[in-house]
């Protein structure tokens, strides 16, 4: 039986990633399919330590996606409003 606390954490991070995916430049469907596959590919792991590592990786991806959104917006605005230099 998997640790229920870790199970909750995994579901939470999955939901947060799904929420982030709503604004993904290539579309929600693209993001969701890949996210689903990434989680499903890890479904066989039962070791607590392995699961914690997986959650840490998901948190890292979350940060990356947030940074991607920030940069995309920053660059667009800079192009529109920044000086020509």
């Amino acid at each position: 039986m998997v640790n229920p606390e870790l199970r909750r954490q995994v579901i939470n991070v999955y939901k947060e990633l799904l929420f982030l995916g709503r604004e993904y430049p290539l579309g929600y469907q693209y993001f969701r399919d890949r996210l689903h596959r990434a989680f499903a590919s890890q479904k066989q792991i039962t070791d607590d330590e392995q699961i914690r590592k997986g959650i840490a990786r998901a948190e890292f991806v979350k940060k990356e996606v947030e940074a991607l959104y920030y940069l995309k917006r920053y660059r667009t605005l800079k192009k529109r409003y920044g000086s020509e230099a």
Partner: protein, 260 residues
């Protein structure tokens, strides 16, 4: 000085990634069924207010009030603002008439009334909204209040507990540093900070934060218009360039166009 009471006015605008379409009557931009979000420059001002609190500077941030004027969907962006860290929000109900919303002067007068009523001593505004691109509200508000203003800030630093604030902003070929005393008005530029993402758990928590609904009449302001939009049109489409084979081709092409 006792504590900072910050007002952050925000606007709900068409999302930056969407290409705006002109409506059929050529009176404005099509807004129905288009994705809207919080004006990016307003996101910067909320982030700065929250960072002023987190920095634990000489003056404690007592209150961060987000405010937006507009139709029934405005609370969405106010929730985003509260998810990023604003404490409470006012929604000023202004019916959507499809004319681009109230003019900057109306908004400035409305903000003046809120500043008086809520005892605000720092107003942080985005330098402009990406829909109207007017960039006047902050300046008008400072004028109406008779407060010092620092526009397009790229750095905000509270120096001491007497309320001295140093603001840096980018000018041609360098930076300019201004010093002023609170109360004051600051407008934010793109490089002030990196706004945090309003995450799902924070949006959920923000649903519990207080959101008050008011009308312009409550604040003693009337929505009058001084400008009339005559016509809105799209910029002419760009014409593609052509390739020439060699130097002679280039010269003849230039002659043809009358450049030589």
């Amino acid at each position: 000085m006792s504590g900072l009471r910050i007002l952050v006015p925000v606007k709900r605008v068409i999302d930056y990634a969407i290409k705006p379409r002109i409506n059929k009557a050529q009176t404005g931009v099509e807004t129905a069924g288009v994705k809207h979000s919080l004006n990016p420059f307003d996101e910067l001002s909320i982030e700065e207010a929250v960072r002023l609190r987190e920095r634990k500077g000489p003056i404690k941030v007592e209150d961060i009030l987000a405010l937006s004027a507009g139709g029934p969907k405005c609370p969405d962006v106010l929730r985003t603002a509260m998810a990023m860290g604003a404490d409470r929000a006012f929604h000023i109900d202004v019916p959507d008439k499809g004319d681009g919303g109230p003019e900057p002067l109306t908004i400035a007068k409305m903000l003046q009334a809120v500043v008086k009523e809520q005892n605000v001593n720092l107003v942080l505004l985005g330098k402009q909204a990406i829909d109207g691109d007017q960039g006047q509200t902050g300046q008008m508000l400072a004028g109406l209040l008779g407060w010092p203003q620092a526009t397009q800030a790229s750095k905000v630093d509270i120096k001491d507990d007497a309320g001295t604030v140093e603001i840096t902003h980018e000018v041609d070929g360098g930076v300019e540093t201004l010093r002023a005393k609170l109360p004051m008005v600051i407008t934010t530029d793109l490089r002030l900070n990196e706004p945090r993402y309003a995450s799902l758990p924070n949006i959920m928590k923000a649903k519990k934060k207080p959101l008050e609904k008011k009308t312009l009449a409550d604040l003693g302001v009337e929505d009058t218009r001084r400008l009339k939009t005559l016509k809105v049109t799209e910029p002419p489409p760009r014409k593609g360039g052509g390739k020439v084979e060699d130097v002679d081709g280039l010269v003849s092409k230039l002659k043809e166009l009358g450049a030589l």
